[in-house]
């Protein structure tokens, strides 16, 4: 087990290296030149040269790449170019609000998705099933931008059910979570339903019925335990991406999270922040994949980690 984990971590190196090089090339080669923003409205060639020197962007590429790799190795990405805030501090402070929204969102989404999927799979083929599926599809087809604009306007402002925006604890997270749910539950439900249906058709389900097990137990015990495997993969692999993907919610509701920070950083050509977040999220993705595989073993005895 330990050997497996060590080996998997070892295997992450080439991928990480690829991510690093890709990020580096993209942002050093093509990204905007921060010096021109930092130089202010009365910039001149000298001051720009000075800024470039201070930032180290006047160094040859290989030196910069080496610095970047050293930063990753030491978990110290230096200071944000735009705000001079230590990058590690940015990530630490933005993570909390992001997770405050994302964790309840993911948990609710998964639980509701599973419950509905099992119920719907049970009545598969019926009118209810089709109606729910079509409703889901319609729900999915509306852009998240529209959801946010309309929900914020309607629920928060017109009806006054929630604070319009702001960030001061969980109360402010409720509406973003609700919108997140409204947007994500439809595709999740569709997906989970297909996972469940895949299992319902399996022979072992017939065996369970042959044993005289009740229909409820068949669904909630036999089927769910098996469907949990693809569900787990989906949920786990989605998490890191969600961290960034929630930027629209974060922007509209003024949540000081990671997603908004990334967009802001791109707008400001704040490379240390972008690079750090990318590397961290890539690492998180890989670690989550590993976690998923470890969890697999807990759920699915057929999986042998070796």
């Amino acid at each position: 087990m330990l050997a497996y984990i060590v080996r998997r971590l070892w295997q992450m190196l080439p991928t990480m290296l690829g991510v690093v090089v890709l990020v580096f090339v993209l942002f050093n080669w093509v990204g905007g030149d921060p010096a021109y923003i930092l130089a202010g409205k009365m910039a001149n060639a000298d001051s720009i040269a000075n800024i470039r020197r201070q930032l180290g962007v006047d160094q040859p590429f290989y030196v910069q790449l080496w610095i970047f790799i050293r930063q990753i190795a030491t978990f110290d990405f230096g200071l944000s170019w735009a705000t001079s805030e230590p990058v590690s501090n940015i990530i630490a402070t933005r993570l909390g609000p992001s997770l405050t929204v994302l964790i309840p969102l993911t948990v609710l989404e998964t639980l509701i998705g599973i419950a509905l999927a099992l119920v719907i799979a049970f009545v598969r083929g019926s009118l209810t099933d089709r109606a729910v599926m079509i409703a889901c599809t319609v729900g999915m087809s509306v852009s998240i931008l529209v959801y946010i604009i309309v929900f914020q306007y309607g629920l928060a402002y017109k009806l006054g059910l929630f604070p319009v925006q702001g960030w001061d604890g969980l109360r402010y997270a409720v509406l973003p979570i609700l919108i997140g749910l409204a947007v994500s539950i439809a595709p999740t439900l569709r997906l989970f339903r297909s996972f469940v249906l895949d299992e319902v058709g399996q022979d072992y389900v017939r065996t369970a019925r042959a044993k005289g097990v009740s229909e409820r137990r068949v669904m909630w015990v036999h089927v769910l335990r098996n469907a949990a495997i693809p569900i787990l993969t989906y949920v786990m692999s989605n998490l890191p991406a969600l961290l960034i993907g929630a930027f629209l919610l974060e922007r509209f509701f003024g949540i000081p999270g990671i997603g908004r920070e990334v967009i802001l950083a791109v707008e400001r050509s704040d490379f240390p922040v972008i690079k750090a977040i990318t590397v961290y999220v890539a690492a998180a993705t890989m670690v989550f994949n590993l976690l998923t595989d470890l969890l697999y073993q807990a759920v699915d005895p057929r999986v042998k980690l070796s």
């Binding site: 080439p14 991510v19 080669w29 093509v30 087809s141 960034i244 990334v262 990318t278 993705t285």
Partner: protein
């Protein structure tokens, strides 16, 4: 096989209705692209933010329509309006600065005064309202649909094409090739797609609709890749491929002559899923400022414009674009579901 799929599809009423909607949209795209309809969408036929006719041109719009109809707008609050009028007459204090074009302009003024273009009367209301410039929202929505759908389709073709090619090579060749593509894949998937899109957008700068297609295509290939690769690995071990080998077929022939027809349904389904995804993604791209260039309209750019209009009580652009998009996307998704079932070899009629 194809025949059976089509028959199964025809029996599905939802699928057929969806297909009809999709075809209607595609028809609209063709007509608008060939200039047969809505070629004049850019004409400013209404007053700005003309409300829909069924709502009526009430106080919702503050700008008086009459002001628009002047040939040369003149600001009534302009404190120097008199000076401007004086200017028209010709003389103006030059503070001792010489105008190199003075003679030319004097001659031209003398030659043809007043050939001002006659401004068209603008309508106070439009069937489904107007936008900021007074464009007809219906026409704009159709024109926007053209861009969005074309972007979705072409980007999906690109993404699925890349994904299929890489997936085929990776799955078929295995070994080092597979390792390489997998490495590439894990890099692409480790970086969240938003970041990837921003990065690629930054690389490609703004060059128009093609850029959007490239951005989406270059970041969207991972999904098809994973599936196609898995299919290729599965099929490579199938005996019909060994059989093809036994009769002396070349690798290329086996990859694309034998295996591809068997996995093409995966590519097809992926493609229709991506079309939907990309139409939606274009909205977000617009929001992030990587949208269509000026003079081109898409649903994404409309929704993005409409963001600020909703709080001003001008809901029609948002509604039109959102409904058009929802309709197409719903129909496309439902059709995709049906197609997936119909093409699924496991489901036998």
């Amino acid at each position: 096989m194809v025949h059976g799929a089509w028959r199964r599809l025809r029996e599905d009423r939802v699928a057929m209705v969806s297909l009809a909607v999709v075809v209607a949209f595609l028809l609209m795209v063709v007509l608008s692209a060939s200039g047969l309809i809505v070629a004049d969408w850019e004409e400013e036929v209404g007053v700005n933010y003309a409300p829909p006719s069924f709502v009526g041109g009430t106080a919702a719009v503050s700008a008086p329509a009459a002001q628009q109809q002047q040939a040369l707008p003149e600001n009534p609050f302009d404190p120097i309006a008199d000076d401007i009028r004086a200017l028209r007459a010709g003389s103006v204090e030059m503070y001792g600065v010489v105008d190199p074009l003075a003679d030319d302009l004097a001659q031209l003024r003398a030659a043809g005064e007043g050939a001002a273009a006659g401004a068209v009367a603008r309508r106070a209301t439009l069937p489904f309202g107007g936008d900021k410039w007074g464009h007809d929202i219906i026409k704009k929505t159709i024109k926007g649909g053209e861009t969005s759908i074309v972007v979705g389709l072409v980007a999906a073709v690109l993404a699925v094409g890349l994904g299929t090619l890489f997936g085929a090579m990776s799955g078929y060749c295995g070994g080092v090739v597979d390792d390489f593509f997998n490495w590439f894949y894990s890099i692409f998937t480790a970086i969240p797609s938003v970041l990837m899109i921003l990065a690629v957008a930054a690389v490609l700068q703004q060059k128009g609709v093609l850029t959007i297609v490239l951005i989406l295509g270059l970041t969207g290939w991972t999904g098809p890749y994973r599936l196609i690769r898995a299919e290729y690995i599965k099929h490579k071990a199938r005996e019909y491929v060994l059989a093809a080998d036994a009769i002396g077929a070349s690798h290329w022939r086996k990859m694309f002559g034998h295996i591809f027809p068997n996995v093409s349904h995966v590519a097809l389904v992926q493609m229709s899923i991506l079309v939907v995804g990309f139409i939606k993604a274009e909205v977000i791209l617009s929001f992030l400022g990587f949208g269509v260039p000026v003079g081109v309209v898409s649903w994404g750019s409309m929704l993005n414009e409409a963001q600020n209009e909703l709080i001003l009580g001008r809901w029609w652009q948002l509604t039109a674009a959102a409904i058009a998009m929802a309709l197409l996307v719903t129909a496309f998704s439902l059709f995709t579901d049906a197609l997936r079932d119909a093409l699924d070899p496991k489901v036998k009629a």
